[in-house]
């Protein structure tokens, strides 16, 4: 039963709704339907961008569970992606493993690496943890560079990954990939939303807000911090693994510290501790360089390498701008607008609920 007042909840079912307002369900429905119809309207370029963004969504949900919900800042996310991509590349290229073996295997490796990288989190928090994950990132990348130049087929060109094939059907072309990635990203998003609403997500939020208080209320901080690192690394490895199949070539040079910063920027821009925020942030940060490129194409003169520099600077400006002026990200902008209409003529919103939209 739906009460008329937005403040009054009369049943648990009502408080547990992911989308409490009817218009939200309509909005999500429209978005899903338009995404399903998109390949029939958009061209290959648009679909390619959407595919990149969907890959980013998977990784961004992962880092948001770790940084946004559990409060553990990680600068090592690029190495998780790299681990996933390399495991896939090695299995697919050297051992001719099929699609459905390589991806779970990559996720398992990701979990293992996430466990190891997460170990320092038991001792440090804040900046010290960020520095440790930074060092871990360089150590992992060093190992992968050594693999690529000594063991891999070619030192500079990277490792080629064959297109995945399931029962004689080869996954090729932007349109087929779009549907695969859409299903994968949707699954990850639903997983993230549900995880953040269960006791695991609530335990993470408690650890983020005050770890000592969390421990005092009976949360096993050690276990939950490691779990956050592992789940986050699994999702990143999944994104890396899918990206390896999607781009069909894996090079260690792709996985720079900048990539880790871009993933961090996604959740800063989208909104820390919000799954919907990760989606917004992932789309924003993926489309930003292409948008800037599009603007430059309209200019009467050519910029050359300057354009590349400006794209880089834009990432920095976006990070600083959001941290200074809108620390809760795009999702907070949406919430402000939504609250205004939902609660009109009142000005106040309900008490902050955990997770959800």
């Amino acid at each position: 039963m739906l009460s008329n007042s937005p403040y009054l909840r009369t049943s648990y079912a009502e408080t547990n709704r992911v989308f409490p307002e009817p218009y939200q369900r309509v909005l999500v429905g429209i978005i899903v339907i338009s995404l399903i119809c998109l390949p029939f309207v958009g061209g290959n370029y648009l679909l390619h961008l959407m595919n990149l963004a969907l890959l980013a969504v998977i990784g961004a949900v992962g880092i948001n569970l770790l940084t946004g919900f559990c409060g553990q800042v990680s600068l090592g996310h690029a190495s998780f992606l790299a681990i996933g991509a390399f495991t896939t590349a090695i299995l697919a290229q050297r051992f001719q493993m099929p699609f459905f073996v390589a991806i779970p295997a990559s996720c398992c490796t990701g979990a293992l690496v996430g466990f190891v990288v997460g170990l320092p989190a038991l001792r440090f928090r804040g900046i010290y943890l960020a520095i440790t994950t930074l060092a871990m990132h360089y150590a992992i990348i060093y190992v992968l560079t050594a693999y690529q130049s000594n063991v891999g087929p070619s030192a500079t060109a990277g490792i080629t990954v064959p297109a995945p094939a399931i029962a004689g059907f080869t996954l090729e072309g932007e349109r087929a990939w779009f549907y695969v990635l859409l299903v994968a990203a949707t699954t990850v998003v639903v997983f993230g939303i549900n995880l953040s609403r269960t006791y695991i997500g609530r335990a993470w939020v408690a650890i983020r807000d005050r770890d000592i208080a969390a421990e005092a209320s009976g949360i096993n901080v050690t276990q939950y911090k490691l779990l956050a690192f592992m789940i986050s690394a699994v999702l990143a490895a999944l994104a890396g693994s899918l990206a390896a199949y999607f781009t069909s070539v894996v090079t260690v040079e792709e996985y720079t510290l900048e990539l880790a910063i871009i993933y961090l920027a996604m959740i800063i821009v989208g909104g820390m501790g919000s799954i919907a925020g990760s989606i917004l942030g992932a789309f924003f940060m993926t489309l930003l360089p292409f948008g800037i490129e599009r603007i430059f194409e309209m200019l009467p003169w050519r910029l050359g390498t300057t354009a590349f520099g400006i794209q880089q600077a834009a990432i920095g400006i976006v990070i600083i701008g959001f941290l200074l002026f809108e620390p809760d990200g795009l999702i907070e902008m949406y919430r402000r607008v939504a609250t205004y209409f939902e609660r009109w003529p009142f000005r106040y919103r309900e008490l902050q609920s955990i997770g959800g939209r």
Binding site: V73, P120, R123, F124, R125, G126, I127, Y128, A130, I131, T132, L134, A135, M136, Y138, A139, Y142, A146, E258, I261, L264, I268, T305, T306, F308, G309, I310, Q311, Q312, A313, I315, G316, I317, V318, I319, I320, L323, L324, P327
Partner: protein
């Protein structure tokens, strides 16, 4: 002998970088991830200033170049504080650290946009002082690097010990709230800290650029500086010198004895080892771990 001089010179550069990180950390509990970028951009500015004043880098033009880049770097540090860091007072230290990452990205882009990613070297003191029979040599800039580093640390020690501002600085580092209640202008102290830090970064960058080549990849030395600071302890200037020398020695010896490829990995391997063994550093205070 030649190896020792190289280690001393590189170690001095790292120590200067670490000093900048430590100064900012002590004053405001912010770890500056943009330090390598600040150093290299400072060196590029020095190079351009030298070009403007006559490119010869001798006598008067050298003095003018030094004056310009010193003033510009200190001013830039104050601007970073006033425009960005000041607004972040009272927010978690990790947020400020992320803002410095944003600054790092912008500075890296500046190298691409303003200097078009050119690789440049600063032609300063490349003449040898002593040439060994084995062919190795010690150049003026090696000597200058060590001397500048010693002079800088001596000046810092005198500044913190004997001047009014230096004492206020130490007070702020220890307890900002109490310092503020004793009428210390915290904003001024933090602005001075940023000015000093960017100045020392530029110094390190110029010395680095005179001994090797500046390129868009050079800001990675910031990581060596950070490692040096962590080895010594983020809140210890003494530790910065020691950490700088240790990182430089380890890097050089690995490059000489094992392989140059591995030597690139050395700074962060040391960093990992320090984090496992003594995360507060050799000279740092243990409680610092919980303060950020």
């Amino acid at each position: 002998m030649e190896l020792l001089v190289s280690i001393l010179a590189l170690g001095s550069t790292y120590a200067l970088l670490a000093a900048g990180i430590v100064i900012i950390y002590k004053a405001s509990r912010v770890v500056n991830f943009a330090h390598g970028e600040l150093a290299i951009v400072g060196a590029y500015v020095f190079h351009s200033a030298a070009f403007l004043t006559g490119a010869s880098l001798t006598g008067q033009s050298l003095l003018i170049t030094i004056a310009i880049s010193a003033a510009a770097s200190a001013l830039f540090g104050v601007i970073i504080y006033a425009a960005l860091m000041r607004r972040l007072l009272g927010r978690p230290a990790i947020v400020a650290a992320m803002v410095t990452i944003g600054v790092a990205l912008i500075l890296k882009a500046a190298i691409v946009v303003i200097w078009e990613s050119r690789s440049v070297g600063i032609a300063l003191g490349r003449q040898p002082v002593i040439t060994f029979e084995s062919g190795g040599r010690v150049t003026w800039i090696d000597v200058a690097t060590v001397v500048v580093c010693i002079a800088f640390f001596a000046a810092l020690a005198l500044f913190f010990q004997y001047t009014r501002l230096g004492r206020q600085f130490r007070g702020t580092a220890e307890n900002p709230l109490l310092a503020a209640q004793r009428k210390v202008n915290i904003n001024r102290i933090l602005a001075v800290a940023w000015g000093m830090a960017v100045f020392s970064a530029t110094l390190a960058g110029v010395l680095f650029g005179s001994r090797s080549i500046l390129s868009p990849q050079s800001p990675i030395i910031g990581l060596s500086g950070l490692t040096a600071a962590m080895v010594g302890g983020l809140d210890s200037l003494r530790g910065a010198v020691f950490g700088g020398l240790l990182v430089a020695a380890a890097t050089y010896i690995t490059a000489r004895l094992i392989s140059p490829a591995l030597s690139e990995a050395v700074p962060f391997l040391i960093l990992l080892a320090v984090m496992c063994w003594r995360p507060w550093g050799l000279f740092g205070t243990v409680e610092e771990l919980n303060r950020v």
